[in-house]
Symmetry: C2
Subunit: 214 residues, 2 copies
DNA sequence: ACAAAAGTGTTTTTTATACACCCATGG
DNA sequence: CCATGGGTGTATAAAAAACACTTTTGT
C-alpha cells in the first residue's frame, strides 16, 4: 500500500453548505434560527449554523437535509422545505483552508431536536463568517415571504391565523406590517383562502381568522 | 511510482462554474452570448458555455475571469464585470459524474476573441444542461438591467445613447420597452445623466441623446 | 412636406402605504 | 361598557404602464 501523498493540496476549494434553518411553531412568538455548538475544531464549542461538506452525487437539497438532521437533530420528516440562497466565497472564511459555502434555507416543523433556537432578532455571535451569512441572507428570506409560496407555506403551516401571519412578517422584515394591509395581501394570493374558523391568541380582543392553502 | 488508485471516487461532487458572457458592442443590434466549441470530451466539438472547474483558493470572480479568457479568448482586460447567478445541481448534468455548476454572468468589452457570439434571442442548442442554464438565468439577467447598476453600466458602457438603452432592454426582456418610459426610468437613476450630445443610429428620425454615468 | 424615430405631457392602472373607524370578545 | 386586538373601508402616495402628441432629423 503506497503512502498517501496527503501533502498535495486538493485542486479545488472545499465546498460546504450552511443552512439557515427556521422554525415558527404554534407557540413561537417569533421566527427562530437553528444553531448548534460545534463538536469539532475549528471553533470547537462555538455556536454556528448547521453545515456539512457537499456529498458526491447529492442534490443540494439532500445535503441541506443532512446538515439539519445531523447537526440540529431534527428528523428528516420534520423538514418542511428547503431552498437555495447564495454562495459565499471569501477565501479566508474557514481557517482550515479555502472553502466555499452555499447558503440554503430550511423550515422545520414542530418536533424535538438538539438544536439551539435563537429568535431571528437576537442571533448570538456565530463562528466562521456565519454572522455575515445571516446578515446577508436575511433580506433574501424577508423577500421570500408572501412571494415564494413554498417558503411561506412551510413557515406558517397548512393553516394559520392572521395573527401569526403578522408575527411571522414582523419577524422577517424590519418593522411590523400593517395588519389591515397584510390581510388584503393574503386575500390576493389565489392559493390562500380564509375560513370561518377563528382562534384567540390574546386574552382580549377579537379572535383572528384562520387561513388555509387550497 | 505506485499506480494511482483512480478507482477511488472523490468524496465531493466536482464543482464547475459556467459563465453567461454577454456582449453589447457599439455595432451590435442586440445582446450576444459568448459560446465556444468544446475542445475535449464529452461533447467534443459541441457548442457550450465557457466553464471551468473551481480553483482552490480562488474567488468565484477569478474563476469566472479564467473561464472567459481561456474558453472564449477574451483578454482579461476586456471583462468589464462579473457576478453570481444561481447553482445548478442535477446529479446527471455532466456524464463524467456528479458536477455542480455555479452560474455566473460576465460582460465583455469590444475586443477580438475566439468566441462564437449568438444573439440572446437565438442561442443554438448547447452541450450539457446549458440550454436550461441559459433559460433559467435569462430572467435573472433581465431583472438586473436598470436595478443592478454594475451590470447595467458594464453592458451599456460608460456612455450610451437612448436608442441603445432601448435595444439592450428589448434584448433581455421579452418585449421591447416603451422608449418614453425607459427615458424616464433612466432619468430617475441618480448616477445617470443626460448630455447634450446626440447620435444617429438610423438613416431617418431624430437622433438620440447620449447618457453618461457620473 | 413626409416618414421615421426620439422625446414630452398626460392619463390610466396598479401597487403600496397610511389611517379612520367598525367589529368581536373577555373582563 | 370598556379596553384590546382583528378587520373593513377609504384616502393617499408612489410606481408602473399606456398612449396621444410634439420635436427633430433625412429624404
Amino acid at each position: 500500500m503506497p503512502p498517501e501523498t496527503d501533502s498535495s493540496v486538493p485542486p479545488q476549494s472545499a465546498v460546504s453548505l450552511d443552512v439557515l434553518a427556521l422554525r415558527f411553531w404554534p407557540d413561537d412568538e417569533t421566527v427562530h434560527l437553528g444553531i448548534t455548538h460545534r463538536k469539532a475544531q475549528p471553533f470547537l464549542g462555538r455556536l454556528a449554523l448547521p453545515g456539512v461538506l457537499l456529498t458526491r452525487g447529492a442534490r443540494l437539497a439532500d445535503d441541506a437535509h443532512r446538515a439539519v438532521t445531523t447537526k440540529l437533530g431534527v428528523p428528516a420528516s420534520a423538514i418542511r422545505a428547503v431552498g437555495q440562497l447564495i454562495t459565499f466565497d471569501e477565501p479566508n472564511r474557514d481557517p482550515r483552508g479555502p472553502t466555499l459555502s452555499i447558503a440554503m434555507w430550511a423550515v422545520c416543523a414542530p418536533v424535538e431536536s438538539t438544536a439551539d433556537w435563537a429568535p431571528l432578532s437576537a442571533v448570538p455571535a456565530l463562528a466562521f463568517d456565519h454572522d455575515r451569512i445571516v446578515a446577508d441572507c436575511r433580506p433574501l428570506l424577508a423577500a421570500k415571504l408572501w412571494s415564494d409560496l413554498t417558503f411561506t407555506r412551510a413557515l406558517l403551516g397548512d393553516s394559520f391565523s392572521a395573527t401569526r401571519a403578522v408575527a411571522a412578517t414582523a419577524a422577517l422584515r424590519r418593522d411590523p406590517p400593517n395588519p389591515a394591509n397584510l390581510n388584503r395581501l393574503m386575500a390576493s394570493i389565489p392559493t390562500l383562502s380564509r375560513t370561518d374558523q377563528r382562534v384567540r391568541h390574546h386574552s382580549t380582543g377579537r379572535p383572528a381568522a384562520i387561513w388555509t392553502w387550497t
